[in-house]
């Protein structure tokens, strides 16, 4: 049974490939049960207001309607129906107030989704409108207050100080003080300050969010397109006042997640409705409804740097304002856990960071591929490029002069280890032929090139656990709650298990997440699975080997020979019988950040680095920008599966091209005006019409399973600022707000020519 071939590092096709190309892969999108009911959500049509009344009579009496449920009805089942991973601010259905257009207010239930949808149109809600605020900067001083009082979840000590705060839209303020930046700025030879903004966007998974709840005997089963089955179990049990074993959560293949399907989305709502009606219920969102559920933070980032004569950055001051929308979701953690990297991958002695999660009357913002890092890199890498130009230094040389190296302290005080920043940057420069000659273009088409580099700390502290079962015939099951949403985790984890067990990965059956069967995992997010779950899987496989060895010894098998598991089991039980279960649990060390200074001696188990270089054409007559070439370089440690790793990087870069050029949720007084693919344009195949090269530098992460670490987000980091820097290189104009549209570029060129 021992194969000589290394399983780790082999580019095998995804283990579920055949299911996906034959149309048989299971998604919750299609899940159905006999007698199942369908719910359709009635949503708020105003941005902010008190609920005066909800008239559901016409909908109730519409033929085929089983029930119409409002927030008050939910309280019969769940007296305090507020949820959220950081703040308990979000009601299952609106109570007392609505906070944004699109907020769920009622649910119509029918045995036909079409009837539920039709009847939904018959509901009328009366509101007393309140002043609303949409912009993150205006919200700082606005008299419009989104929530009367802050309600941080009691379980987090670092949020306790926020409890009961009133008259503020600042949900969370994170502060970092490293050195003495005030003093350093007075000593700086040059000081430059710039501001950058990013737009609100949406993940738009092609499988829209969907959850099904099935009530049982003092229990409930959820079938949900979720990235976090274990968290859903915990949170639903908390809402109901039940034990975790009364709540079963099953996930399937996800038709894309990208952070949209983390924490609670529809799960609390279907649970409440199912228990109220004692019937299975399914709620599927439309593409448009997804825009009202969770989004990417719009941001404003004010960044100031002080430099000495030689071009060394001695001080950096970062103020980041995250537009969190009407409910906190995981936004406060974005503000903190990405916030502490806002000064960039540079070695700066004096850093000050203030990062604010802000409530507004827009749809809520949360996690999306990069967890806030792409917004930060957009600002600090545009700014860094501007500094280089101000000092008349080459942008590469300037970055190299300031780059954060292994052994140096990051702004939190954590000593950097196993982060190949320099190697990533210089590999990119080499691949770009940065020192070579470059054709600048002629006539109306001007050419430019740009680079950018960003980094991310893996979210900490989190835990993963895994179980591996060997049957009597030696065949193998891997049980884990990591959700494969396209990133290839089933394949990667099978490869890690196979490497340890000495069998081939294709022989391992990976069990879909089911909280009654698959052990706890914090969640599939933030590029954490390869490292955390990978370690847990490796430990579980090691546990299996230990147990088999003990059985072999006990059964009197020759100690000098390797024995296949089925031989050991046969010898032990006298027939094809028995089970061996190995368990692995992994939780890296972590030192919490200090509330006042943000300091931590161990802020993350691993760092991710991603850099992008582009060459562009800019048409000075139209403002159109065309990418001619893109190179992405990342440090992902050792690669579990090089082929899938490459696709992860390029997919992340393609997605970030969307947020760079076209994707922007547009609002008219809080009303989203482009919530569909007709008007909200994600990248299509014609947009990706340039050669892209993806490179993983040679790296080995000492704490990772066989040296591996996360990769899913690193391809997003450098894309937007590299493009802006290339546009500057081509035509000398600086775009400071995303997305970069032809109109913005044209206007900037026009303004420059006007002088």
């Amino acid at each position: 049974m021992i194969t000589k071939q290394a399983e780790f590092g082999r580019s095998i096709p995804r283990i579920e490939s055949k299911q996906k190309v034959s149309g048989t892969a299971e998604y919750m999108h299609h899940f159905t049960l006999p007698g199942m009911l369908y719910g359709k959500i009635f949503r708020s049509t105003i941005t902010h207001g008190k609920i005066i009344g909800i008239n559901t009579e016409a909908a109730q009496s519409y033929p085929g309607v089983v029930s119409v449920i409002t927030g008050e009805d939910i309280k019969k089942i769940i007296p305090s129906p507020y949820y959220g991973p950081a703040f308990l601010d979000q009601p299952i259905l609106a109570l007392d107030k609505v906070h944004f257009i699109g907020e769920p207010v009622a649910v119509v239930v029918s045995n036909s989704p079409h009837i539920a949808e039709a009847a939904c149109q018959l509901i009328e809600a009366d509101y007393e409108e309140l002043e609303a605020v949409y912009d993150e900067i205006e919200a700082l001083t606005s008299s419009a207050i989104v929530h009367d009082e802050l309600k941080p979840s009691g379980t987090f000590p670092d949020l306790k100080h926020l409890e009961g705060r009133k008259n503020t839209n600042i949900a969370l303020d994170f502060h970092l003080r490293h050195g003495d930046s005030d003093d350093a700025f007075t000593k700086a030879k040059h000081v430059f300050e710039h501001a950058f903004t990013t737009q609100q966007g949406m993940h738009t998974p092609l499988e829209p969010m969907v959850s099904i709840a099935v009530p049982g005997d003092q229990s409930i089963t959820l079938h949900s397109a979720t990235q976090m089955p274990s968290f859903v179990r915990l949170e639903i049990a908390r809402l109901l006042g039940w034990k975790e074993n009364q709540v079963r959560v099953k996930s399937a293949h996800l038709g894309g997640g990208y952070g949209a399907k983390v924490y609670i989305k529809l799960e609390a709502l279907v649970t409440a409705v199912a228990l109220l009606l004692n019937k299975p219920i399914k709620i599927s969102l439309t593409m448009e409804e997804q825009f009202y559920t969770i989004c990417k933070h719009a941001t404003t980032f004010k960044i100031k740097s002080g430099l000495d004569e030689s071009g060394k950055i001695i001080a950096r001051d970062c103020k980041v304002y995250w537009n969190g929308g009407a409910y906190a979701d995981i936004g406060p953690r974005v503000a903190q856990k990405s916030g502490f990297t806002a000064a960039g991958p540079y070695d700066i002695d004096h850093v000050s960071i203030d990062s604010f999660e802000i409530y507004t009357n827009r749809p809520p913002a949360g996690a999306i591929r990069g967890f806030g890092i792409p917004q930060l890199v957009w600002a600090y890498e545009s700014h860094t490029d501007m500094l280089a130009h101000e000092l008349k230094m080459d942008p590469l040389e300037f970055r190299n002069k300031n780059i954060l190296k292994n052994g140096a302290k990051q702004a939190t005080g954590t000593v950097i280890e196993h982060m190949e920043t320099e190697l990533v940057l210089n590999t990119l420069a080499e691949k770009m032929d940065w020192g070579g000659t470059f054709d600048r273009g002629t006539g109306s088409i001007r050419k430019g090139r740009g680079i950018a580099i960003g980094f991310k700390a893996s979210v900490s502290p989190t835990t993963s656990t895994a179980a591996i079962t060997i049957h009597g015939d030696g065949s193998c099951l891997l049980a884990m709650s990591t959700v494969d949403m396209g990133q290839g985790s089933d394949t990667a984890m099978a490869q890690i298990a196979a490497q340890t067990l000495g069998i081939s990965a294709e022989k391992i059956k990976v069990i879909r997440p089911d909280t009654d069967i698959t052990p706890y995992d914090m969640g599939t997010l933030g590029s954490r699975s390869t490292f955390h779950m990978g370690n847990a899987v490796k430990l579980a496989a090691g546990d299996v080997l230990n147990k088999l060895q003990q059985m072999a010894d006990k059964a009197g098998l020759d100690k000098n020979l390797a024995h296949a598991p089925e031989v050991i089991l046969q010898k032990t039980y006298g027939m094809q019988a028995g089970t061996v279960v190995g368990f692995g649990s992994f939780k890296p060390n972590y030192a919490p950040t200090d509330l006042k200074t943000g300091a931590s001696s161990n802020v993350t188990p691993f760092w991710m680095v991603g850099a992008t270089g582009v060459e562009v054409d800019v048409d000075i007559e139209t403002g159109h920008v065309k990418v001619n070439k893109m190179i992405n370089v990342v440090d992902a440690g050792e690669l579990v599966n090089p082929k899938i790793a490459n696709t992860q990087i390029s997919g992340a870069a393609v997605m970030q091209c969307g947020f760079t050029f076209s994707e922007e949720m547009l609002f008219d007084e809080g009303q989203l005006t482009n919530g569909s693919f007709a008007d909200y344009k994600i990248q299509g195949i014609q947009d990706v019409n340039f050669p892209m090269e993806n490179i993983c530098v040679k790296s080995n992460h000492y704490g990772g399973p066989y040296g591996a670490k996360g990769i899913g987000e690193s391809g997003t980091f450098g894309v937007s600022p590299a493009i802006a820097n290339a546009i500057y290189d081509a035509v000398g104009v600086r775009i400071t707000s995303l997305p970069i549209t032809p109109e913005k570029v044209f206007q900037a060129i026009h303004m420059k020519n006007e002088g």
């Binding site: 096709p13 998604y27 499988e207 038709g255 894309g256 299509g684």
Partner: protein, 162 residues
């Protein structure tokens, strides 16, 4: 008021006679026959996840009322191969090239590939991009899809030469 209609059509080579409600679309009807490869996603015919071939033309199933299938012939991804059969060269090419991630859009891309290669057995990159303008992959697997289409073109040509 009559809300339903009897229709007769070919579904992956089999003759089907059924009664459909006027308001359901082709994807909902296919779901009733346990065919789940074509999926409604954007609901506007803009993402291509619902692509099926109707009388050899690629159609967005989410936009077409099921009653309009009367007298027509429908081909879905399930017609290419079942789970326990050997894969069609197009499916094999998508596997070999890793031309999908979450896989939700994949059957749409595969049916479009079939349509493209029926019309143009040896397409250029540009022709492939042009043809797939109406199919979206949010995971951004476009570079791999282009290589997969070219592999499929090659293997279909080789098998037709045999």
């Amino acid at each position: 008021m009559n809300n339903s209609k009897s229709i007769r059509f070919q579904l992956n080579g089999q003759t089907i006679s059924t009664v459909v409600e006027n308001h359901i679309n082709v994807i909902e009807l296919l779901n009733q026959f346990q065919l789940k490869g074509a999926r409604e996603s954007c609901g506007q015919g803009l993402c291509g996840a619902c692509t099926v071939l109707i009388d050899d033309l690629a159609v967005s199933g989410c936009l077409m009322p099921a009653v309009m299938l009367d007298g027509k012939s429908v081909e879905t991804v399930e017609s290419l191969s079942g789970l326990n059969e050997s894969l069609h060269p197009i499916q094999q090419a998508f596997v070999d090239q890793g031309a999908f991630q979450c896989g939700f859009c994949t059957p749409g891309f595969i049916m479009m590939t079939k349509h493209l290669l029926d019309l143009n057995p040896n397409p250029t990159d540009e022709e492939i991009r042009d043809f797939f303008a109406g199919n979206l992959c949010r995971c951004g697997t476009y570079p791999e899809i282009i290589v997969a289409v070219k592999q499929a073109a090659q293997s279909l040509q080789q098998s037709s030469e045999l």
